[in-house]
Symmetry: C2
Subunit: 217 residues, 2 copies
C-alpha cells in the first residue's frame, strides 16, 4: 500500500530539516520504503481539512490505506514494526528502543522546545533576557544526563534504531548552539546520525520540497 506523508510546503526552518516530517522521512529511508508527499502551505495547517488528519493541526501525518496517523514518534514506531531496519529483533532490546523513543520525545525534546519558545515567542518580553538562561539550564541538565548514559557508545542502546532517529532529530534543534556544543559526545552522536545514507536522502528530499515551493512563489 502506498504511503503518503504531510509536510510543510514552506517550512519556517528554510530547509534545514528540523520540522518533524524529517523524522518520518528518515525512518522511511532507513526502512527502504518509498512515500508520497502532501505539501501543505503554512496558512493551511490549522484548517479543518488538515485537522481531520491531525486534531492539533501539525505535521507530519502518515496515510497508508485506511490508516491515518499523526505524532512522529508513533509513526516511526509503526514504520519500525511494519518494516525491517529500525528495531532490534530481541524483545528486550526492542522494548528499550521504544523506551528511548519516549525519552527523546518526552524528556529531551521538550526542554529544547522550551528554549525555542523563549527565543521565538517571548523575545519581545522585558524579562526574556533574565529567563532565557534558566530555560537553557534545564536543557543543559537533561543533556548532561543523556551524555553520561551515552558515554562512548555510538548509539543509545546497541545498534542504531528508531530511537536514534528521534533523539538525533531532537538534538539537531540545538545544532551549533549551547548547551549542545558543551557536550562533544552528543555533537559526535548527531554527526554519526547525519552521516547515514538514509539521513542524507531524507534531508535532500525535504530540502527539495522547500526549494520547489520557494521557486514557485
Amino acid at each position: 500500500m502506498a504511503i503518503t506523508i504531510t509536510a510543510f510546503a514552506n517550512s519556517l526552518d528554510q530547509g534545514r530539516g528540523l520540522a518533524r516530517d524529517m523524522i518520518v522521512r528518515w525512518a522511511l529511508e532507513e526502512a527502504g520504503q518509498p512515500y508520497r508527499e502532501r505539501l501543505i502551505p503554512w496558512a493551511d495547517f490549522k484548517k479543518p481539512a488538515h485537522r481531520q488528519r491531525n486534531p492539533f493541526g501539525q505535521i507530519p501525518t502518515y496515510e497508508e490505506g485506511d490508516l491515518i496517523l499523526f505524532e512522529s514518534g508513533a509513526i516511526v514506531l509503526h514504520v519500525a514494526e511494519r518494516f525491517k531496519g529500525l528495531f532490534p529483533v530481541d524483545a528486550n532490546a526492542r522494548a528499550r528502543a521504544i523506551m528511548w523513543m519516549f525519552a527523546a520525545v518526552s524528556d529531551v525534546e521538550p526542554v529544547i522546545v522550551q528554549m525555542e519558545v523563549s527565543e521565538y515567542m517571548e523575545s519581545d518580553k522585558s524579562w526574556n533576557a533574565e529567563r532565557a538562561p534558566l530555560v537553557a539550564d534545564r536543557a543543559r541538565g537533561r543533556l548532561a544526563d543523556l551524555a553520561a548514559r551515552l558515554g562512548g557508545a555510538a548509539w543509545l542502546d546497541g545498534d542504531f534504531s528508531a530511537a536514534d532517529v528521534l533523539m538525533v532529530q531532537a538534538l539537531r534543534r540545538l545544532e551549533g548552539q549551547a548547551p549542545l556544543t558543551e557536550f562533544p559526545s552528543l555533537v559526535a552522536y548527531v554527526e554519526r546520525g547525519k552521516a547515514r545514507p538514509a539521513f542524507k536522502r531524507a534531508f535532500a528530499a525535504q530540502r527539495a520540497a522547500y526549494e520547489a515551493t520557494k521557486a514557485a512563489s
Copy 2:
C-alpha cells in the same frame, strides 16, 4: 516473572496520585498483573543507584527479569503488548492507540508541565504574574484541540486503551483548575477514567505507600 516498579517513598503530591508511578500502577491493574514496589526516598532519586535504572533520575522504572525500563509511556506500551486489557486487537486501532499515547506524553502533558514549572519553579520571579497567563493559554489551546476531537466519545479512539491511561493522568495534573475546568467534556473524560476499578486499586496502592512513609517518619 515478577514485576518491580519504583515510586517515590514520599511523593510531593501528598498521595494525590499525580506522580508517574500512578500511570504504571493503573496499567498493571488494568492488565491484572501483580507487582512489587521499590520506594525511593526523595533524597535518593538523583543518586547513582537509581540512575542505573533511569539515567534522568526519575520514577517510575520497571524491572522484569533482565529487562529494566524507564519512561512511563514505554512501560505502559510494554505492559500493553505483553498482557491483555490495554490494546485493541485490530492492527490499525492498535497503531492509533500508540499514536494517542505519544500525543499524551509529547503534546498534552508538556504544556501542562509548563504551567507547573511556572507555578512551582518561577513563582518568585517578578515577571511570573505576567508570564503565567501566556503559559496557561498554550495549555488552553491544546486542550481545545483535544476536546474538539474527543467530541462526545467516551474514550480517545473506540474502546478504553493504554492511551486513555496516559491522557487521563496528564489531564489530572490540572484537576479542579483552569483551563481544564473550561472543557466539561474533558472533565467528564477524566471522571470516567477515575471511575474504573483498576484506577481505584492503583490509586489506593500509591496512597498507601505515601501514608506508610509518612507514618514511619
